[in-house]
Structures are given as structure tokens and as C-alpha cells.
């Protein structure tokens, strides 16, 4: 498609590239000489072919793709509901449907056991905590209130205030942003390709004092 375009353009020489002498032609229209420095980017319709939709506003193309999706089944669906390559790979790994289902069931069963155990432990701890708080309520209401008080995660302790006096403003801001108990900022989803900036060998982790 691109090759056609280029060939046709060379014939009619509507594409103006003043840097390249090959495209300069004596048949070039006079009006285009003022735009010699700029590349003509309007999509010109040639009657035998479709206009190049990659130029200009992609809105129309996106709309068209959304309204009329392709129904040719030659690649996986975008959200993974259909993957044509899985059966072949699975057949090489486990050459039996029954064995695959058995392995799948065993794995899910194991996950279930772990989950139930975790939930049971958590609920046991919660119940004990609830009982303890009920007892505390009966014993001493002041202590109960103190135990129930929620602390502000953004508040700075005395040690942090001391530290903040010695640090730069940007560093103080970094310290404020690292809320204790929140997941670390360094926790990133692994990507398929490395970052454009590369690996930061000079990175120093920042630990907020509790």
C-alpha cells in the first residue's frame, strides 16, 4: 500500500521534498513553491485506492474499528477470552485432557486449603481482638478510648520533626510522601521491556523513621 503511494507520488510529484533532488520536477505547480519547506500531509484520494488513514486525525479510524471489529479469527482476543495457541502448547506439555484437569483441580484444591486456613486464622485473631476490646470496655473506658483512637498516618513524630530540620525541602516532601504502612513506592508491576531511562545503579532507598 505504501509502495503504491510512493510510486504514484513520484509520478505526479505532489509530495514536495525540496531536499531531495529526485522529486524536483519542472511540472511542479507554482503554488506549492511557497510551501517548499513543509511536507504536504493532506490525504489525497486516488480513485483506485483508499486514502491513507494513518495520516491526520485517528478519531475516524478508531471509531470505525470500534463499530466494525474484525471477525477474522487469526489472533487472540484483546482481553484474553480466546487464545488459539493455548491448546497446542498445552498438548505438548500435558498430552492428556484428564491429566490436565486433575492437575488443575489439585492446584485449586491446594489454593482453597491455603485460603481457608488463612481466613480461619484471621477470623480467630479478629474474634480474640473483639473479645479483648469488650473486656477492656467493661474494665476501663478511658483506656478503651485510647485503644480505639485511629492515628493519622500523615502525622510526623518527634524524631521525624528533628530529621526534617536537617533535610532539604525536596527531601522533606519525599519523607512526607512515604506514609508508613502504605505499600512501598518501589513496588512496581514487572513489565515486558525495560524502562527507557535504564537501570538506576545509584538508587538509595529512603527509610522513614517510625
Amino acid at each position: 500500500m505504501m509502495a503504491c503511494q510512493i510510486r504514484r507520488d513520484q509520478e505526479i510529484s505532489h509530495q514536495i521534498d525540496s531536499q531531495h533532488p529526485a522529486t524536483m520536477s519542472f511540472l511542479r505547480p507554482a503554488s506549492s513553491s511557497s510551501k517548499a519547506a513543509f511536507r504536504n500531509t493532506t490525504a489525497i484520494r486516488h480513485y483506485a485506492g483508499k486514502p491513507d488513514t494513518s495520516l491526520g486525525d485517528p478519531k475516524r479510524e478508531n471509531l470505525r474499528r470500534a463499530l466494525y471489529p474484525s471477525n477474522i479469527r487469526n489472533r487472540p482476543t484483546p482481553v484474553g477470552t480466546w487464545r488459539p495457541d493455548v491448546a497446542r502448547a498445552l498438548q505438548r506439555a500435558i498430552p492428556s485432557v484428564q491429566a490436565h484437569e486433575t492437575i488443575e483441580r489439585a492446584w485449586l484444591l491446594h489454593k482453597r486449603h491455603v485460603r481457608k486456613q488463612r481466613e480461619a486464622e484471621l477470623s480467630r485473631k479478629f474474634e480474640k481482638m473483639r473479645e479483648a476490646m469488650d473486656e477492656l470496655y467493661k474494665l476501663d473506658s478511658q483506656l478503651y478510648l485510647q485503644a480505639n483512637r485511629a492515628d493519622d498516618p500523615r502525622a510526623k513524630s518527634a524524631q521525624e520533626m528533628e530529621m526534617a530540620k536537617k533535610l532539604k525541602v525536596s527531601e522533606v516532601r519525599t519523607m512526607d510522601a512515604r506514609i508508613p504502612g502504605l505499600f512501598p513506592r518501589e513496588l512496581k508491576v514487572p513489565t515486558d521491556t525495560p524502562s527507557r531511562t535504564g537501570w538506576n545503579y545509584d538508587y538509595k532507598p529512603f527509610q522513614r523513621p517510625l
Binding site: S96, A99, I103, H113
Partner: protein, 465 residues
């Protein structure tokens, strides 16, 4: 116009993974057949492993479809895959699909599942003992009777219900993961006495599409609001009729049953009146261990009622007190003893008629709802856990204008049970039904004659000169 990629995709069969391997010869009594030999070290696990029967082999993509005979590719005609002929009449033993060591994950998974199954079975056995003790307590309290005992009795009953529910779950979980059990159910070797097998059968009916299809047809054809407000099937009801039309025989041949002449009716399809001249064959699969009673009804809600300019319901068939249980799965017999079967006779000129077969459950012997306690006690003592209903035979004059909702409310029938529906349009056999069975002149329906507004002035001269 197909693109080249689409045509290629349809010509090559989708990669099909074969079922578990089986030994082709039945094993000697007592000793299960040995697992297939392990794969040789040079080849990968995919190539050898099993003595698969040719029907169960996966479609080996490379060699098919590419027979270059003079450059012409022979296109493969798709035929339905034949399942191996295993059933209760030709039973087989389960084998491991892969030999030990071929896929270590499978070996470990099998061991894990077996260990878990043993642990759950032990727990179930312990709970069963406690249930038996509690049931003993209940029976003692029941014998005592009296007012003061009633509350205690209800409390024990409620506890027992909870324990029995847990026991059911444990019994199912103890076996449901075992590959042997799943294989048996899949290959028509299910033992309906075992709870896990029954559970898997019911799960297959509910989740693999049969119930969905039935409910889709029932809702789309508006059987649910027209006949009854709610239908929640719990029994797998299948209807079969003898095939009569060439299309039906062709459909049977396409299914791979060329010689057969019995057609399993898909819910909602059109049948010819000739198919239903004799009572259709009903196959009901219930999933409860105790024997319960159901009422069979076959009604047509689309019989025209010219007086009211509408439609009325006609009762074609009724049979109360039909016994169903998990052990008794299969063809229902002796159904023509109550209100005899009248073949469907869709009148000429009417749109299609919906013939609905219902198997509605009768109320339980004790209490308002069926419970696990009732089920367990009925199984222990024997007998039936539903109330036997003395429904009077519906006379010939009362079949037309039969009110299904009133009937269900009057006799306390439930919303569960089984349901099925097929449609019919007038055929030559309908005239036969009117002549021989109903012994009435056959009515022909049509639109009322349009009044001719210009009858008066049609012949008269319009212009006077």
C-alpha cells in the same frame, strides 16, 4: 467472501485433545489394566505414552488435509467424533492416562487429591456417626410425644438438618476430585447411589447447557408467564418420539445415528402431528435419593376460543402420583392410567401450538418443604416422602378450558420438577386425530370475513345524466 486465513482455519480441524486413554480389551476380573509404558527418553512426552484407540486420538494436524495428489488438496468432510462405546452394559475400568514419571505434576496432583479425599472421607464418617446418634435422640423424643417435648424436638430436628447438610457436602467433596469418579460419570458408569456421582450428574445437567437451553426456550416461547408464573426445574426431563418425516431421519443420520428411528426432542422445536399420535416417551432423571411423587401434565395453551376471541388451554394428558427417584432414573411407564392421552391436534389455520409437558412435585408428607431430614428418613424406612393425591379424572368436556394455575394452587404442587416443550402446526395427521380419537368434525380457523362496505352501491348507476 472468505479471506484466505478464515478458509485455512476452517479447513484445518481445530486442535482436539483426546480423552483419557483406555485399554481396548476389557481387563481380567480384579486386576486393573496396567498403565501405558513410559515414553522413550529420546522422544518427547507427546508422541507415545498410550495405546489410544483410534477414535480417541487427537487430530494430528500435520498429516491430515495435505494429501498432495497431483497438487489437489482433498478437503476433509467434518463428521461428529465417535465416543468410545463404554456404558453400564459394556463397562471398563479407569486407568491412569499417563504412566508414572511422564508428567511429575500429574503424579503429585493425584497423590494430593487422594490424600485429601481420604481425609475428607474420614471426617464424613465421623460426622455420620454423630448424625446417627442424634437421629436416635430424635426418634426417642418423637416416641415420647407430648407438648413439652415439641420444642425440644424442633430444636433437634433443626440441628440434624444442619448436620445432614454438612454431611452431604463432605460426602460430595470426598469423591468429586478423584479422576476415577469423574471419568466414570463422564462415561455413563455413574452409580446413582453415591452422592458425589449424583452431584456430578446434576452439575452436568445444570452447567453444561441442557437446562439453559430448556429455560431459554421456555422463556422465549412465553410458556412461563402463560401457563405458570415460575418454573425452576430440578428434574432432567427428556422427551423422545418416533421419527416420521424425511427431515427428521436426515437429522438422525447427521448425528451419526443413521439406523435409529427415535428422535430426542430438543425443547422448542417443531414436530409433525404424526410424531405424537402415540404418547411420547418420557425419560426423567431425578437427583434426590428418596422416592417422591410428581404429577404429569401435558397441556396446550394455544387452542383458539372464538367466543372470547382468544385462546384457551387444553389438557392432553394427566397422571398424578408418578414415582421418581435417583435410583429409578430412566423411562417412565404406566402413565396412561389416569386421564388418557389425547394426541396433539393443532387446528388448521391457527398459528403454532406450544405443547408443554410438566412434571410438578406433590407436597411432602410432613411439613411444607422437602428437607434432608425427610429424605434421609424416607430412605431409611423405605416408602415415599410425598403425599399421594386423589386427583379426579378430568372428563372429556373439561379438558378444554383447563386452568393450570388454579389446578396447581388447589393441589399444592410445587414450582420445581421437570418441564419440556415442543411446537406443532397442522398436518394431515390432525384430521386423523379428529376423525378417530376425538370423533368430532374438524374445525378450520381463519380470519373473520371482511365486511363489504360497498355491497349496496356496487350494482347501481353512479351518474345520472
Amino acid at each position: 467472501m472468505l479471506s484466505r486465513t478464515l478458509r485455512a482455519a476452517t479447513a484445518r480441524p481445530f486442535l482436539v485433545r483426546g480423552n483419557a486413554s483406555l485399554s481396548s480389551a476389557p481387563p481380567a476380573a480384579g486386576t486393573p489394566a496396567p498403565p501405558p509404558p513410559p515414553a522413550s527418553t529420546t522422544t518427547t512426552a507427546t508422541t507415545t505414552t498410550t495405546a489410544t484407540p483410534p477414535s480417541a486420538k487427537a487430530a494430528k494436524a500435520p498429516e491430515e488435509g495435505d494429501k498432495a495428489e497431483g497438487g489437489r488438496r482433498k478437503r476433509k468432510v467434518w463428521t461428529p467424533r465417535k465416543r468410545p462405546a463404554i456404558s453400564a452394559l459394556a463397562p471398563r475400568e479407569w486407568n491412569r492416562p499417563l504412566a508414572p514419571g511422564v508428567v511429575p505434576a500429574y503424579d503429585y496432583a493425584l497423590k494430593y487429591i487422594q490424600r485429601d479425599a481420604a481425609a475428607v472421607a474420614a471426617e464424613a464418617a465421623e460426622l455420620e456417626k454423630r448424625v446417627e446418634e442424634k437421629e436416635g435422640e430424635y426418634q426417642v423424643l418423637l416416641k415420647e410425644g407430648g407438648e413439652g417435648v415439641k420444642e425440644g424436638l424442633e430444636k433437634v430436628d433443626a440441628e440434624l438438618e444442619g448436620m445432614r447438610e454438612k454431611l452431604h457436602v463432605l460426602r460430595v467433596q470426598a469423591e468429586v476430585n478423584l479422576p476415577e469418579v469423574r471419568w466414570k460419570v463422564k462415561n455413563a458408569l455413574a452409580e446413582r447411589g453415591r452422592e458425589a456421582h449424583r452431584h456430578l450428574l446434576e452439575h452436568r445437567w445444570r452447567k453444561d447447557g441442557d437446562l439453559d437451553l430448556l429455560m431459554e426456550r421456555i422463556y422465549q416461547m412465553k410458556v412461563v408467564p402463560d401457563l405458570l408464573p415460575v418454573l425452576k426445574p430440578t428434574v432432567d426431563l427428556r422427551v423422545a418420539v418416533p421419527a416420521t418425516t424425511p427431515d427428521q431421519f436426515r437429522a438422525l443420520a447427521a448425528q451419526g445415528r443413521a439406523g435409529a428411528n427415535v428422535l430426542t426432542v430438543e425443547p422448542g422445536v417443531f414436530l409433525d402431528p404424526k410424531n405424537t399420535l402415540s404418547p411420547p416417551m418420557l425419560y426423567a432423571d431425578a437427583f434426590h435419593a428418596d422416592t417422591r411423587l410428581y404429577t404429569l401434565l401435558m397441556v396446550d395453551p394455544d387452542v383458539p376460543d372464538p367466543e372470547r376471541a382468544g385462546y384457551k388451554t387444553y389438557l392432553h394428558w394427566m397422571c398424578p402420583n408418578v414415582e421418581l427417584s435417583a435410583a429409578r432414573a430412566g423411562r417412565l411407564t404406566g402413565l396412561n392410567g389416569h386421564t388418557a392421552y389425547v394426541p396433539p391436534h393443532p387446528q388448521r389455520g391457527t398459528p403454532y401450538h406450544r405443547y408443554t409437558v410438566l412434571l410438578l412435585p406433590q407436597p411432602p408428607v410432613r411439613g411444607e418443604r422437602y428437607s434432608r431430614n425427610l429424605e434421609a428418613r424416607a430412605v431409611r424406612e423405605g416408602g415415599v416422602s410425598s403425599r399421594r393425591l386423589d386427583i379426579p379424572v378430568v372428563g372429556e368436556g373439561e379438558r378444554a378450558g383447563f386452568d393450570v394455575r388454579k389446578f396447581v394452587e388447589e393441589w399444592g404442587l410445587g414450582v420445581e420438577g421437570g418441564a419440556h416443550m415442543f411446537r406443532e402446526v397442522w398436518g394431515a395427521a390432525t384430521s386423523k386425530v379428529y376423525e378417530e380419537v376425538l370423533k368430532q368434525p374438524e374445525p378450520v380457523f381463519g380470519r373473520p370475513r371482511k365486511e363489504d362496505r360497498y355491497a349496496d352501491i356496487r350494482g347501481r348507476k353512479k351518474y345520472v345524466l
